[in-house]
Every structure is written in structure tokens, then in C-alpha cells.
Subunit: 432 residues, 2 copies
């Protein structure tokens, strides 16, 4: 980056949405990221911070002076502020609280009191609410008097005199129905209100199944507290799906592609270490059969085939099960049915590929007994993999462990141990 | 299911949203699915068909009489009809076309002419558009005269006298601004219009980065053709993320958890077969070193550790790279940087775990040379895995192959071959 380029860069940045700047920052190595960050127009600093991943956010915040952070966050609403707040250095957070007025501070503290990933954290409080007994005409006059309605207001909330949620009035109805009608005649009461404690994942499902644009958030007494807009739910859905993908590989979903080598290495080392235990366990199983391996070298050559085919078959079942559980398709009542189905698939595919492997092994080593033994071991391992692929996530979930994160290690352990044991064990019995 | 239960079932079904019925059907084995499907109220049949996955849809349609299908789809709009149309048996599709009036038929054929997953297929044509030179008052009168505006209308489209898109008028502004103002004074012109050929994945990114609720679809001349609503984009985002997860395990994203055993087995057999080739390749590599394996049995015991650690390290890098590519974070300009970073991580983690493995191997077999050799092989394989994890998806993408689908097989091939070759090769050189 040359000095001349800076002018161009600033022009480009001025044209981009905060989310696009965020993506650009995420795509840059740390040094260049810091240099670009200095050039981002200060009035969008806060928005950009909101759009980058947690990991990247930390790198950006570290490059800012305390007063810059306070300035960047000044224009944000409470929900967004709460999201940033916990990533701030302690000193800056305190400075920020001091720089706020009483009302802002109280609101922020109220929002922070809700659990992370709850509806309370996600909701916006800029809700426009109206009463059921007024006419549409009156509502319109009220809105014109207000004159500022957020662009992502798709419907108005209808509440009673105590502020208890009654229903919603889509703007599309407000503008198309007879202005003499009362809100009560036009509003939609067939709307689920969201308890403030609902988890964001549940919320996402609700928005998807009901094709919602906005949902009302209420407290235990039914009092309207705020609204959740689909714009924010889209982020939840993306993060959620991301998490499943990353966790299957033992990664943190917030992993920054351009984090410094040391911190990435540290994070991934843990997963490698856990898998090393599995690998040693498999090696130990193999070590039990040194006798057989010493006498028949073909066993050493063929044994990885048994373990690997089991691993592949098992991970297919595991992925389906994890996704099915996330979508709510798997419950106690149908898990037996699924188990039988996966058993059936494993028998069919086990026998099919066992025959192929048996023939190749026979042609290779000219020993039909080795062919028969590897075939038997392959069927056993693929069946074990199919059953494990269903049972492991179910058990992990019952134990309160995320199956997406730890399912694959446990599964590999099972398919390695069963695979080596079946193949080398059968060989020891029948060939020695 | 007893006869008595049917009454209860019908009551429950009547209370559910089509999307919820769809999920219920997806969670049932085929027999029970067919029985429940008969009980679904016929007026939501069409909606339910829209919400289930393609795979499940086929099982449901197969259970229906042609006239039932025609009836179920009668109430659907053209976009939804087009989505179903291609899954229908040919005879039914023809019956349906005949039962439609001229206008419906033309519209359906126009929609079908757009490519699958393009904006043209996703867009709805029930757009409400207004002219820029009228007042908000006039717009309101027009809407009241229309009296029917779809509930998911969040903004009106503004067009010129030729129907060319000019901007949008959010309903929130229509209801809150002075009715004497002209549409032109209030509308938002800073809106990207969507070419009708845009791919749904690109659309999803656009909705996410710009926090859109509705986007205008235009033809090459800028003529307004329809609108895309965020409700439909949410489905695109979910399917897209699903696909990455399923493809990594060699599964089709439409895979029905409860498909019959035979069809599931067939589908998964292919993936197992492809992986078998990889496994045989690895076995062949091991076979090159029979000499070493015959003389030193410890090699057979330890060699899976080298291959497995490489596989784990590589799949972490691969997952990050695939996600980074999907998010648009990886380009030609930063791929070198990434490669160097992954090389650095691999060196650090390779050396760390190589030391651990070397010590354990030495203690286990009492031979420091074996410890040194496995350590060296482990470093080589983990480094190869890190580099392959970046290069493989980049190469596959350049070849036009989806890296999520085939990346993991290619990677496993690399880590198995390099792992066995490095370990057994070094052993042959230094121990024999």
C-alpha cells in the first residue's frame, strides 16, 4: 500500500456498506487489517465492529484508543452496544458507562442482565405500539406526529392499557384497510409472543417455520418488552449452521482465518491432542496382535482399509444424525426406527464392499482365508459404525455434550478399535 | 395408530402451520408418513409440499392421486408452483397445465424458463408498484382501493411510466411522512436492483450484508419484474449451509433421514466406493514396505498414528478454507499469506505432537530410533496436510469442482499416502 493508494482506498470505503467493510477486514492478514481499519470512516466504525466476527473484533478493538472506541459506539442502539460491550477492555467499558446518560446506562445494564443468546439480548426496544380500540386513522395520525419510524418496522405492536401484548398490525394492512376501522378489527392475534428467555436457536426455527418478519418479546406477565426482527435472525441462522460445520472439525466457529499463527496453533493443538489419544488407543489395540502381524505381513498392509471404511460409513450416519437432531427430526420415538434403518444400510453396504475387498485381497496375496477374514471384519466394522453413528450423538446429547463437537472423535475411536480388533482378532483365531 | 387416535391427530394437525406439518412428516418412517399425510387437511396440502425437502416431497406425491395433486396446487402462486412442478410425474404435470387458465399457464412457463436457483425462480410477481410523481396521499388511496396487499409487503416499488425500477418506498415511511409529499421526496433510491439471472447464493449474501427485507428484480433494461422477500432468502441460507455440512460427509443435502433402506444404501455406497480406492492406494503404499514391516513389527503398530494425525490436521485446515471460500474471504491475493500461515501452524503443532509421540514410542518399544523416525514422519505429514488443506480446495474450485464435496477424499488420500510413505520410508532407510 503506497501513500497514493490511500486516497483511492478511502473513496472505495466510503461506498461500501459496513457489512462489506467487515468482510474486507476479515479477509486481510493482521498488519494490513490494522492499516485498513485506520482508513475506515469513523462514523461507521461502530457498525463495522458489529458485523465482524468476535475474534476479528478483538483484533480491531486492540488497535483503537479508548476515546475512539467510546466515540465509535456512541451512535449504536442498546442491543448492539450490549453485543460489543463484553468484548471491550475493562477500562474502556468503564469509561463508556461513565460517558452515557442515566437512561442509556440503565437500558444497557438491563439488556446485559439477559443471558447471552436469549431473546432479551437480541430484541430491539424501538418498538412502535398502538392500542386496539383506536381507528387506523388515529394510528396514522400518531405515526405522522412521531414522523420517525425505523425502516425495518414491518408491523406495529398492539397492546392493552397496561402494555400487555394483544396482537400485531402489519403496515400492509394499515395502509390498505378502511381508515374508519378499529385496530382490533384489522389486527392479527394469531401470533406467538416470545418469552424473553427463549434461546436464539429456537427463535430461528420459529421464524423459519412461521415465515415471520417480526416477533413480539414479552415478559412472564405478557408485557411487551421489545421486538425481534428477521434481519437479526438471519445472522443467528448463519452462525448456527457455521457452528455445526466448524465443530465437526474441532474448530471454534469464531476462528479468524487470519489470526496470528501462535494463537491459531494453540487452539487447534487441543483437538490434535484429543485425537492423539484415540490414535494411541488404536495403536495399543494393534499392539495386542503383534504375533499375528509378525507372521503375516499382509495383515499390516490391509488393516487400514477396515478402519478407514468404518470411519467413512460412520461419519455419514453421524452427520445425518447431527443434522436431524438440529432440525428436530429425531426424537426418542423414532430413534429405534432409525437405528434399524442404519443397521440395514450397513449390512447392505458392508456386504457389498466386503465382497469387493475380499476379491482384491485374494488376488493380491493369493490367500482366500485372508479375503474371507477381511470381508468379515469389514461387515462387522461398518455395522458397528452405523449403530455408533446414531447412538453416539443421542448419548452425548443426553449427557449435555454437543454432539457436533465431540461426536467425530468418539466415533473414530469406535471404528478404529472395532476395525483393528475384528480384523486382527479374526486373523489370530483362524490363521495362526 | 388406532382408529380413535385419528380424531386427535386431525385436531392437532388443524392447529399446526404447514411448515410444522412438513417437519412432522419428515420425522416419520415411510409407512407412518403416508398414513399421516392422508390426514393432513387438504387445503394446506400444497403449502406442506412446498415446505418439505425434495426427497420427502417425492414420497408424498407418489401417495397422491393425480386429481388430488392438481387440487392441492390450485391455490399456490406461480413461484411456488414452479418449485413443485418439476417434481411432478409427467402425466400429472400435463393434467395440471390443462386445468390452468391461459394467464396462469403463461406465467408458469415464463417462470420455468428461468434457471433453477436464479432470482427469476425465487421472485414473486405480486409486487405493488407506484409512480414517483404522485403524493403519498394518492398512494394511500390507491392501496385502500386495492384493499388486498400481501402481508409480507414491507415496501412498495417505485417505477417510471415505462415500468423501469427507480427506488423503493418503505411502508414505514409511507405511514409516517407528510401525505402531501411526493413519492420521489420520500423514496429510497440507494437500492441495488437484482438482475433476474443472479444466483440465489449471491442473493443471500446481498440480503445479509445490506440487511434487506425485499429486493427488486429487474431485466436487462431495468424493467421491474418482481420482488424477492427475505422469507424466501432464509430458506436459501439454511439450505446452503446444510449443503456444505452434508457434502463434507459425501451426502446429498436432500437426503431423507427416513428414506427406504435400499435407496439410502445405494446413495451412500458410491461414497464408500470412492473412499475404498483411497484406502487401497494407502494399502498399496504400505505394501511397498513389506520388508520393513516384517522385520520391525512396531512399525505396523505405530503407522496409523502418523496417518490419522495428518488427517485431523488437514481436515481442520480444509474446513476453514471451504468456509472462507464460501464467505468470500479467500481470494488469489491472500491465498499465499494463508498458505504461509498454515505452514507455520503445521510446523508448531507438528513439532509439539511429534515430541510427545516420540517419547511415548521410545518408552513403549525402547528404541530411540523409532521415536526419532515417527517424530520426523509426523512433522512431514502434518505440514503436508496443512498445505494440502489450502491448495486442494483452491485447485478443485479452479477446476470447477465443489471443494466441499470432494475435498475430504482428496485430502485423506494425500495424508494417508504421505504419512505411510514418510514413516515406513524413513524406517527402511535408517533402521534396516
Amino acid at each position: 500500500l503506497e501513500a497514493d493508494d490511500f486516497v483511492i482506498i478511502e473513496e472505495v470505503l466510503a461506498d461500501l456498506e459496513p457489512a462489506e467493510i467487515a468482510l474486507l477486514l476479515e479477509s486481510l492478514p493482521l498488519n494490513e487489517r490494522a492499516r485498513l481499519w485506520e482508513r475506515v470512516p469513523h462514523d461507521v466504525d461502530g457498525e463495522v465492529l458489529l458485523h465482524v466476527r468476535d475474534e476479528v473484533r478483538t483484533t480491531l478493538i486492540n488497535d483503537m484508543e479508548p476515546h475512539e472506541i467510546v466515540a465509535a459506539t456512541a451512535g449504536l442502539d442498546t442491543t448492539d452496544l450490549a453485543e460489543l460491550f463484553e468484548d471491550l477492555p475493562k477500562q474502556v467499558a468503564e469509561d463508556m458507562l461513565r460517558s452515557m446518560d442515566e437512561l442509556q446506562r440503565t437500558r444497557l445494564q438491563e439488556t446485559l442482565a439477559f443471558e447471552e443468546d436469549s431473546a432479551g439480548r437480541l430484541m430491539r426496544t424501538d418498538t412502535v405500539s398502538v392500542r386496539a380500540d383506536v381507528t387506523l386513522e388515529t394510528v396514522q395520525r400518531f405515526l405522522r406526529w412521531k414522523s420517525q419510524v425505523p425502516d425495518n418496522t414491518y408491523l406495529l405492536m398492539v397492546v392493552d392499557r397496561n402494555g400487555v401484548f394483544m396482537g400485531v398490525l402489519p403496515l400492509s394492512r394499515l395502509v390498505s384497510q378502511d381508515p374508519e376501522l378499529a385496530v382490533a378489527d384489522v389486527m392479527n392475534t394469531d401470533v406467538d409472543s416470545i418469552p424473553v428467555t427463549m434461546h436464539s436457536r429456537e427463535l430461528a426455527t420459529l421464524f423459519e417455520t412461521h415465515d415471520l418478519s417480526t416477533a413480539p418479546v414479552v415478559d412472564e406477565q405478557g408485557l411487551l418488552l421489545g421486538r425481534i426482527v428477521i434481519d437479526d435472525i438471519v445472522d443467528v441462522i448463519r452462525e448456527d449452521s457455521d457452528q455445526a460445520l466448524m465443530n465437526l472439525a474441532g474448530l471454534d466457529e469464531e476462528e479468524d482465518l487470519f489470526a496470528p499463527v501462535i494463537s491459531s496453533a494453540k487452539r487447534r493443538a487441543v483437538w490434535l491432542g484429543i485425537n492423539l489419544i484415540t490414535a494411541f488407543l488404536a495403536a495399543w489395540v494393534i499392539g495386542r496382535f503383534e504375533d499375528a502381524l509378525e507372521k503375516i505381513v499382509a495383515l499390516a498392509v490391509l488393516m487400514p482399509i477396515v478402519a478407514s471404511m468404518g470411519g467413512i460409513a460412520g461419519s455419514q450416519t453421524l452427520t445425518l444424525a447431527i443434522r436431524g437432531m438440529a432440525l428436530g427430526q429425531i426424537s426418542r420415538t423414532n430413534s429405534n426406527w432409525l437405528l434399524r434403518k442404519e443397521f440395514g444400510i450397513a449390512i447392505i453396504n458392508g456386504i457389498l464392499w466386503a465382497l469387493v475387498v475380499a476379491v482384491v485381497a485374494y488376488l493380491w496375496f493369493g490367500d482366500s482365508r485372508i479375503g474371507a477374514i477381511i470381508a468379515a471384519a469389514l461387515v462387522i466394522n461398518i455395522v458397528a459404525a452405523g449403530i455408533a453413528g446414531i447412538l453416539i450423538p443421542l448419548l452425548l446429547k443426553r449427557m449435555g455434550i454437543d454432539p457436533a463437537l465431540s461426536g467425530s472423535v468418539v466415533l473414530t475411536t469406535v471404528t478404529d478399535v472395532v476395525g483393528f480388533m475384528a480384523f486382527l482378532g479374526l486373523a489370530t483365531i483362524f490363521l495362526l
